[in-house]
């Protein structure tokens, strides 16, 4: 199948500063792709090159096999939703939504019907004669979304569109956008620095760091099997420990976490004995108390225990070595300083080459 959008060896520099370095990226039709990364990682630059506000210094971008990297923004037919919505302050809600249709030179009557229908769909029909300044943040967000969708663009680009909303509204809009994506079969490229937003909404996530893609996979794979130290640390919380590979045998490796703590892990084939490696284990994948079927059972001491309402966070120590575990609540009456057995599944551990 021909890729829908393709970046080939795309680089972007501003003066001597290279923001994107020879990037390849393929986006399928109908998928929801999130570009996730810290600020300055190049994710927004990718979006701006796709929208046409920046031109690549080198490389090509194609849409359905046609090169688009030299096209001006207004010929690309991509609906962009901006960070602060970028609604036209001098136009009403209806005029804002009608704008892209006017640019397409549709007949007036058709524009009116389409605007009406689109606004009703997002429950803004009542507010169509208001100015953006008279709307709440969530309403402005919905107008911006409607405006980007109404002209049936080939791709929807969103640049941190939910960043300015409060938590509750943000979660609501996440569901609304996901729903729209499924219902209309849209291709969406979504830039965010919020990992939970990326995890909940996307078909695939591309994790950016320093102008390169560290990993591009489904949220499930990204979270459970990070392929680089950066991804392991950036997505979710993890215990990341530099360890020695003691032994490798039949897809299993033995890792020395410290002088007297050893763990069994599922090993990647390239892992070799005697090597240094990064060991990663999510706090919520640990159980406190012995697991009869488990391969890993380490005896450690409870150093601290922090109550978080819906869960507890337990600091475990063994000499200089520490782990953070997350569990629903501690059974029994363990006290700080008490010994405890920590168990985990070898499949939940990730070992990364240094």
């Amino acid at each position: 199948m021909q890729p829908f959008i393709q970046f080939e060896a795309v680089s972007k520099s501003f003066g001597a500063h290279t923001v994107i370095d020879s990037l390849d990226l393929t986006i399928q039709q109908g998928e929801f792709l999130s570009l996730l990364g810290p600020s300055g990682s190049g994710k927004t630059t990718i979006l701006m090159m796709l929208a046409g506000f920046e031109r690549p210094t080198r490389g090509t971008i194609t849409l359905e096999g046609t090169r688009i990297d030299q096209l001006p923004p207004h010929r690309r037919e991509m609906g962009v939703v901006f960070q602060n919505y970028a609604l036209f302050p001098h136009m009403t809600v209806a005029e804002n939504v009608a704008f892209p249709l006017e640019m397409k030179k549709l007949p007036r009557a058709e524009i009116a019907t389409k605007v009406e229908r689109a606004l009703d769909m997002v429950r803004l029909g009542q507010l169509k004669n208001r100015r953006p300044s008279q709307l709440s943040g969530g309403q402005q967000q919905r107008v911006a979304l409607t405006r980007a969708l109404v002209f049936e663009p080939r791709v929807i680009l969103m640049d941190e569109p939910l960043g300015a909303l409060d938590k509750q509204l943000r979660e609501h809009m996440q569901l609304e956008i996901r729903e729209l994506h499924k219902r209309l079969g849209l291709t969406i490229v979504f830039v965010t620095h919020d990992q939970s937003e990326a995890l909940t909404m996307s078909d695939r996530i591309a994790v950016f760091n320093g102008g390169r893609i560290e990993q591009i996979d489904s949220p499930f794979v990204i979270y459970d099997t990070p392929r680089t130290r950066f991804v392991a640390q950036f997505i979710g919380e993890t215990n990341l420990i530099e360890a020695d590979v003691v032994n490798v045998q039949g897809g299993r490796a033995t890792i020395a976490l410290s002088d007297d703590l050893v763990a069994q892990v599922d090993a990647a084939p390239e892992l070799a004995k005697g090597q240094k490696a990064w060991f990663s284990l999510r706090p919520e994948r640990m159980r406190l108390g012995a697991d009869p079927a488990g391969d890993n059972a380490l005896t450690m001491t409870i150093a601290d225990c922090i109550y978080h309402g819906d869960h507890m966070r337990v600091q475990l120590a063994q000499g200089q070595f520490t782990f953070t575990a997350r569990c629903e609540r501690l059974a029994g009456d363990w006290k700080v300083g008490a010994p405890v057995v920590v168990s985990f599944d070898p499949r939940d551990c990730t070992v990364l080459a240094p």
Binding site: H74, G79, P89, F99
Partner: protein
Amino acid sequence: MFRAIQTLFGVTIVGFLLLPIVAILPLAFTSSVFLTYPIEDYSLRWFTELATADAWRLSIMNSLIIGLGATLLSTVLGTLAALGMRSEVLPLASLLRTVFLLPMVVPAVVLGVGMQMLFVNFGLASTYPGVIVAHAVLCVPFVIVSVSASLQGIDRAVEKAASSLGASPVTVFHRVTFPLALPGIISGAVFAFATSLDEVVITLFVAGPNQRTLARQMFSSIRENISPTVVAAALLLIIGTLCLAGLAAALRWRQERNALRAAP
């Protein structure tokens, strides 16, 4: 005690600032030829004088002609330049801005003398175009400041949004940038007109008797033979400039309100 001193001070200075302007205005309605209180009898004779005496009538006409000409010229040139200065890739932007604002600070007499010497060579001395051009030079900084401020208030994302929605650069300008900058352009024009209306010094040097403006006429009548006509003219100017300033303030306020509310 401290509070009382504060209040007294505030009221005194407000009085110092406002009373002189307010106190003389009733004198425009005196029937006497002297500018003194108490006013024995009220009349409109000095307004009649203003409307009928050739020198005053001509000067009011001249002020309007020259003011409108200078406003048009400076607004067009200043708006274009402000648009150009908005570009981020412009070299020497801060130097250019300094040059554009310089007419505001150069002493008027110095500029006036220079213009008088130069305009003789151009054949512009004592002509309407000469006075209009001279006033426009003084008006330019006000237009630049006002239009630049309104352009700065435009979120560039709004223009990007328009172009992503299919608007060509020309369409982006006339559907988005220009309408959003318009209040700034209008208030710049208002400031320009008020500046021209009030200008005396440059006019002294470049205008001939036929281009005498209202301000110039007031200046020489205060100097030579002050009469209540001057106060009547002052009242006219105050009403005119306050209306214009009110218009400009209203536009600016509306623009700021829009900008504030549009930002989430």
